[in-house]
């Protein structure tokens, strides 16, 4: 459309439609700010004279009436009623490059004379401003009085008539409508049987019956999921660098299920945004929140975690904005939005809703499990077992705590040993000498320690001889020791000294790395003088960790004992400093799975891969125990005399007696040990039950919100003003009683007052059925987006959708049942001349099939399609070597058998090397949220459709089917094939061409019979050897031709 054209349309539009008939009796000619003026001001002026205060030039804002009409030194920018004295007009007309607006340096196009005239007229008419249309409440609209029964048709017809059209185009043929609606609602072509049935059904309800059948077919959910997965940026890998697999297909299953069950769209959205926050959430409600975690996640070693954590949260906000609000919120990440009323502060207020989870910025390399928070994908049976075990464990814990074994204790007291005994020691290192790079193990000489990268020996604590010293990058490791799992009690004991506190120093650990392994294992850290002890499955969400409230003295020897009882609870951990049990702070108390790797790392002291080691720190007297030590033992190890005194005392104090009793139970009492052993067994059973159960990333709200800040220019390391969770001011406010969390946000989004959510949603489904939304920019309802072609229809649909319970099947049925939808796609003469881009829907739109439909059609028609809903992703044919550019040269383990022929939404999607045919056929890049796909036309697409083995094999299988099902003669078979591919009978001339093609191909293959055999070998399905190879090869070539016809690849 030319510029002139466009503005003619705009004038016509303005004259016939008015979103808010504020003054109902105005002459129809009056211009509308929203439709006529805002697009000009937004595009040419607002970048410097708009909403973003920081970028505002000359303190002039043209985005509000007040700003534009303010009296300034130089005059008035816009003087209502007086275009000639409005500076705006003077400046846009100026020829002086210093004065001309927009300035030539801005690279913005000067206003056309049409645009200047519009501006003049609008000022002359009073320069009335309007709120941007999409921010106004959804209007209650009555469908125009037109001769159509369906409201949709009345709206469309009314616009068409205003444009001068006589009415709709003719209804499309039954074949064409069936083909269209079957693809639109199920993503598949109609079968011959469906075609025949519909053609034979002459009742007025015939089409409705078809629609109902399609909406209740399981393929409907798959089709709808294909659309949604673009928006959800769904893929099978994490996206950055290593791009490792993430198993999230159960989310896809949930999406398919939800559409098939026709879950109200409001619930569909609410569960995804905030299912975890619903009261007593179901597993599905929690699973749905995976939606927020499907953004790319980075595994690259050495990244700054906060940089990427911020990127993840930003992605959540961006996706939320695109899918639900149709707003480009991300534009306000670095500065106030240039066009829409969203400040950077408001962006970070939304950010605050989406960051309150315990998540890492770096996904783990060594432990490729789901980043936290994650939920178990357990079966109902497993859930029941877990509940059962939890009850048994709790009961056994009570039993154990009540065992006193008093009789035996009293007996023991009388003949107690004279010297302390500390059983369960599995290793001890005194750091006295280094011989051959080894440290002597006093308990088990075969399990010596190693010196790594040259640690030194220095003076130890008084009376303890030498000690080991680490530079922070070197230290000691202890192969074969300390491989504890989380159901095993254990303890360690050692002397430590560091010249000064540092932010973080790793003293002892059993792990491969911090971020690169999500800290899996256990460790003892010094954090600015506080001693911490943690056990980790996946940091930060799944761990138990305690930290002493007191700080140890710098540059002084301190004795540390850490104990753990195998309970997977923070309360089962303790720290003793210099023999005294320390008061601790619980940092984490949520250990959900095991702390082991499968291939265990060495226990080490002094250093850790990519971490802050125990810089200039010294250790001595390191001992390891396979049980939880008692206080008397801890005191004894710290050179205190409590234990000896208690043993020697003839007059036990109450405290001494209690401590001895505790020691007795733990080390001597048969009853206690038996019971403890049983408890351990139960804990171990639970550990083993949970270990193999897969998990999926979900949202799990932290008890208190993380502090949120405006980030200057979007930089993670430049936090400025603190913000709290809130919604943008330009939209209706969050009510006072709404919680400031994702659930509150979802309620706000779904409230009838929200002007965007319902409009954006119905528009996207309109786009799904018509190829183009009523608002063409379905991803942008802001000021730079396109205005709606049928604003009243949009509002009517939105309101109707909400009033009928956000019922998606009903919405789709309503649309496809309309005459508008069922028109022919062939443009009428009027349409060709006046509605070339089909804005007014003077005919039904035609468009190329999506990548999924293209492949699924071939599979369906060939009979190869595996009919199965849901499950893990599959790996169909792909040329060799494509994945070799990915990290670690991963192997593309192609599927075989039925998995080669699943519907395309199940195709394994590796983000850094996506399936090539799908990408060539314009599938969306799943690295970010997309709600509008590209549609292009390239030679590479032809190559895929003609040469990709998937398509070649399908054509062959379809040709094979024609031999068996398509009739007796070649002509019948060709007709059958043509009908499968296009859903209609070929014409006489077409049939002649089909026959000629067949004969030519048959001759070519007959001349070279070997070539026919080769062609038939393509693919893994195998061919019926009894069939005539030449004939089948020739039919295959014809089938390929048919499947590449415009009518086969385009939905018309």
């Amino acid at each position: 459309m030319t510029r002139r054209h466009r503005f003619q349309w705009m004038i016509i539009l303005a004259s016939i439609l008015c979103i808010v008939p504020a003054k109902g009796n105005e002459p129809a000619k009056k211009l509308s700010f929203n439709r006529d003026i805002r697009p000009i001001l937004s595009d040419r002026c607002y970048a410097c004279h708009g909403f973003d205060e920081k970028k505002r030039e000359a303190m002039l804002s043209l985005d509000t009436f007040e700003g534009a009409t303010a009296v300034r030194d130089s005059g008035v920018a816009i003087e209502p009623g007086k275009p000639d004295s409005s500076l705006v007009i003077e400046r846009v007309l100026s020829n002086d490059p210093e004065l001309k607006m927009p300035p030539p340096s801005s690279n913005k196009h000067p206003l056309s004379s049409d645009e200047v005239n519009l501006l003049r007229r609008w000022i002359a008419e009073g320069a009335e401003y309007q709120k941007h249309w999409s921010f106004l409440p959804i209007a209650s609209v009555t469908p125009p009085r037109e001769s159509a029964s369906q409201p949709i048709d009345r709206f469309v017809l009314s616009s068409l008539r205003e444009q001068g059209a006589a009415g709709f185009s003719d209804r499309a043929t039954k074949e064409r409508v069936l083909r269209r609606v079957t693809f639109d609602l199920t993503g598949l072509p109609p079968t011959i049987a469906e075609l025949d049935a519909y053609l034979a059904d002459e009742s007025p309800q015939a089409f409705e019956r078809v629609v109902d059948r399609l909406l209740s077919s399981p393929s409907y959910g798959e089709r709808m999921a294909s659309e949604w997965l673009d928006a959800a940026r769904f893929a099978d890998t994490h996206g950055y660098q290593m791009d490792r697999e993430r198993r999230v297909w159960s989310y896809r299953d949930w999406v398919i299920r939800s559409f098939n069950d026709n879950l109200p769209y409001s619930d569909f959205v609410k569960w995804q945004l905030a299912g975890d926050l619903l009261p007593h959430p179901t597993k599905d409600q929690r699973l749905a929140t995976a939606f927020n975690r499907l953004h790319n996640q980075n595994e690259e070693g050495g990244i700054v975690e906060e940089e990427f954590r911020v990127a993840y949260v930003v992605d959540r906000v961006t996706t939320f904005g695109t899918v639900f609000l149709g707003l480009t919120l991300e534009c306000s990440r670095c500065h106030d939005h240039k066009y829409d009323p969203i400040t950077a502060k408001e962006f970070y207020s939304l950010f605050a809703f989406f960051q309150n989870i315990s998540e890492p910025g770096q996904t783990s390399y060594f432990t490729p499990d789901m980043p936290t928070p994650a939920m178990l994908l357990s079966s109902d049976k497993q859930d029941a077992e877990i509940v059962q075990l939890d009850q048994e464990i709790a009961a056994k814990e009570i039993v154990l705590s009540k065992i006193t074994d008093d009789q035996a204790f009293n007996d023991w007291l009388t003949k107690r040993p004279s010297a302390p005994e500390i059983p369960g020691k599995v290793a001890e290192f005194k750091f006295e000498t280094i011989a051959g790079n080894k440290l002597v193990n006093e308990v088990d000489a075969k399990r010596a320690g190693n010196c790594v990268e040259g640690p030194e020996l220095v003076e130890g604590p008084a009376g303890h001889g030498k000690a080991g010293k680490s530079s922070g990058d070197n230290g000691f490791d202890f192969p074969g020791l300390g491989h504890f799992h989380r159901a095993q009690p254990f303890s360690f004991s050692l002397w430590i000294k560091q010249p000064e506190w540092s932010k973080r120093a790793v003293v002892l650990h059993h792990s491969k790395a911090p971020a690169d392994a999500a800290s899996r294992g256990y460790d003892l850290l010094l954090e600015e003088g506080h001693v911490s002890f943690g056990l980790y499955y996946m940091w930060p969400g799944s761990a138990i960790k305690i930290r002493t409230k007191e700080r140890i003295a710098a540059n002084q020897w301190t004795h540390v004992v850490g104990t753990y009882d195998g309970s997977s609870k923070a309360s089962g951990m303790a720290l003793f400093l210099n023999g005294e049990k320390s008061e601790v702070e619980v940092i984490r108390d949520n250990l959900t799975k095991d702390i082991t790797y499968g291939d265990e790392p060495n226990l080490a002291i002094g250093y850790r891969f990519r971490d802050n080691g125990f810089k200039d720190g010294a250790v001595d007297g390191f001992a390891l125990f396979d049980r939880k030590l008692t206080p008397l033992e801890a005191a004894h190890l710290a050179d205190r005399h409590d234990f000896i005194e208690a043993l020697e005392s003839q007059n036990l104090s109450t405290e001494q007696r209690e401590k001895l009793h505790e020691y007795f139970l733990a080390t001597v009492s048969g009853a206690w040990k038996k019971s403890e052993h049983e408890l351990s067994e139960l804990r171990d059973k639970k550990r083993r039950l949970l270990a193999p159960i897969p998990e999926i990333m979900v949202m799990e709200e932290l008890p208190s919100p993380k502090p949120a800040h405006l980030l200057v220019r979007g930089n993670y390391d430049q936090p400025s003003d603190e913000v709290t969770a809130d919604t943008p001011k330009a939209l209706p406010p969050l009510s006072a009683d709404t919680p400031r969390n994702r659930l509150g946000l979802a309620d706000w989004l779904l409230s009838p007052d929200n002007p965007l959510m319902a409009r954006v949603t119905v528009n996207r489904y309109w786009q799904m059925l018509f190829g183009k939304g009523i608002v063409e920019t379905s991803d942008n309802f802001g000021m730079q987006g396109s205005p709606p072609s049928h604003p009243e229809l949009l509002d009517w649909l939105a309101k109707d959708f909400v009033e009928h319970g956000w019922d998606v099947k009903r919405l789709l049925k309503q649309i496809v049942m309309s005459d508008t939808y069922q028109q022919d796609s062939k443009a009428s003469d009027w349409g060709r001349e006046h509605d070339a881009d089909n804005r007014w829907l003077s005919h039904a739109p035609s468009r190329i099939l999506t990548a999924e439909m293209m492949r699924d059609q071939s599979l369906a028609l060939s009979g190869l399609l595996t009919v199965k809903i849901g499950g893990p992703s599959v790996k169909p044919y792909q040329p060799d070597g494509l994945w070799s550019i990915a990290m670690g040269n991963p192997n593309y383990a192609q599927s075989h058998g039925p998995d080669l022929y699943r519907r395309s939404l199940y195709t394994y999607w590796k983000k850094t090397v996506p399936p090539p045919s799908m990408m060539t056929l314009d599938a969306a890049d799943r690295s970010y949220c997309t709600v509008r796909r590209q549609s292009t036309n390239t030679p590479l697409q032809s190559l895929v459709l003609l040469n990709d083995p998937q398509f070649v094999e399908a054509a062959r299988a379809m040709a094979e089917r024609s031999l068996k099902e398509g009739g007796k003669t070649t002509q019948e078979r060709l007709e059958w094939l043509f009908r499968c591919g296009t859903s209609r009978q070929p014409g006489e001339k077409e049939l002649a061409t089909l026959l000629a093609t067949f004969e030519e191909q048959q001759k070519l293959f007959a001349d070279n019979p070997e070539s026919a055999k080769q062609l038939l070998k393509v693919g893994e399905r195998g061919v019926d050897e009894k069939l005539d190879a030449t004939e089948l090869a020739a039919l295959t070539a014809v089938t390929q031709m048919i499947l590449n016809l415009d009518e086969a690849v385009r939905r018309r």
Binding site: D43, Q241, N296, N298, A886, M919, Q934, L940, S942, Q1014
Partner: protein, 481 residues
Amino acid sequence: MSGRSMTRLNRRSMLARSVTGVAGSLASLGFMHLLSQDALAATESKGVLDQLHFPAHAKRVIYLFMSGGPSQLDLFDHKPLLNQKNGEDLPESVRMGQRLTGMSGNQSRLPLVGSPFKFSQQGPSGAWISELLPWTSKIAGELCFIRSVHTEHINHDPAITFCQTGHHLAGRPSIGAWLSYGLGSANENLPTFVVLISKDRIDQPLYSRLWGNGFLPSMHQGVQFRNAGDPVLYLHNPPGVSSRSRRSMLDRLAELEEMRFVEEGDPEIKARLAQYEMAYRMQTSVPEVMDLAGESTETLELYGEDVKTPGTFAANCLLARRMAERNVRFIQLYHPGWDHHGGLPGRIKQLTKDVDQGCYALITDLKRRGLLDDTLVIWGGEFGRTNYCQGKITPGDFGRDHHPRCFTVWMAGAGIKPGFVYGSTDDFGYSVAENPVDVHDLQATIMERLGIDHERLTYRHQGRDYRLTDVSGKVIRDVIT
């Protein structure tokens, strides 16, 4: 949306729906009669730019991307001070708070490490080049070394995405896609934007988004030419389908579509058919460009022994020259393997051996064929490497971590000053001392050489006009003759 951009969008969508410049190729095939006036009108303009913003000095670009981040300190940025201070800690006064990666950032010490390789001055500019690059040294007189390139990103994924798309997060079009969008094709029988990747060298990964179209129509995405199997995916007919069989089938397809066109009157039918013809022609033109049989022994020797092995850097350089001759607009080579956190002295020897002679041969070959005048060649990675050792220095061995603050890129041809050194770093080789050049500046300069003002080649996506250089970038005037 302005009227102007409406027109532009409209043309673009027409282009998207049809094809760039099919008219010529179809005419020669005798398919002209199939094309209605509409379809012809749609293919007139080859790119979105009606006219270039500046006179073009380059018609095409060959970008030799050294993925992983080559060590500038062992190749081009000669720092004797590091040898003197070998093993001493990096002074905080030099680092000045620069963030480090988590790989070396937690080390208790950051020991400086000098290059074990000898440097000498080469060419008229007296550019320092290490002994690792004897062949490159010979062409120093053709190259312009920019030693002051810097980036914001310290990790591979964001840094390489930034270099190739102007933004560190996925989703933006790559340089080649922008050029295809702006300039269109100069040879309809080959893709406008071709990617060649050295085989067997992946350590850090590559991603198809690095040559992706982002939000531009997907026709602008780079097409990877592979050294094994089909050079372009699905290029060859299925086994058993002869060229005659395909030709005959396509002719019949055209016949049926013609009937359909009469019935339907939709020019899309023909636009799509034109793509089948293009694809058919590519089946000849792609193998032709990939076939080195016609190259003289002398030429093959110029590129060295490796050229005989498909998928080596040398072989890809020769292919790049062949594509340049055929006016492929943007030829992107990747040579991965430069991520030398450890074992640098040994590994960099291998990598320089991989690329050195190929670079020499490419420049020499382009020059003698008169192609260097209008071909812009760029060599460089996504960031540099640290002047301190990652881990411990041991006898004969060390490694360097990622370094964003300075690295070296060289450019040649298309009116870039030959035999010139631009920018410098401090004596520690840590920060830029003069004439800093950021990645957007490089991108702006590439576009300028092609006649494009980087601020004016924009695409409206979600209401915003995007461009390759985001919101910054300035042409480096000082490196242009």
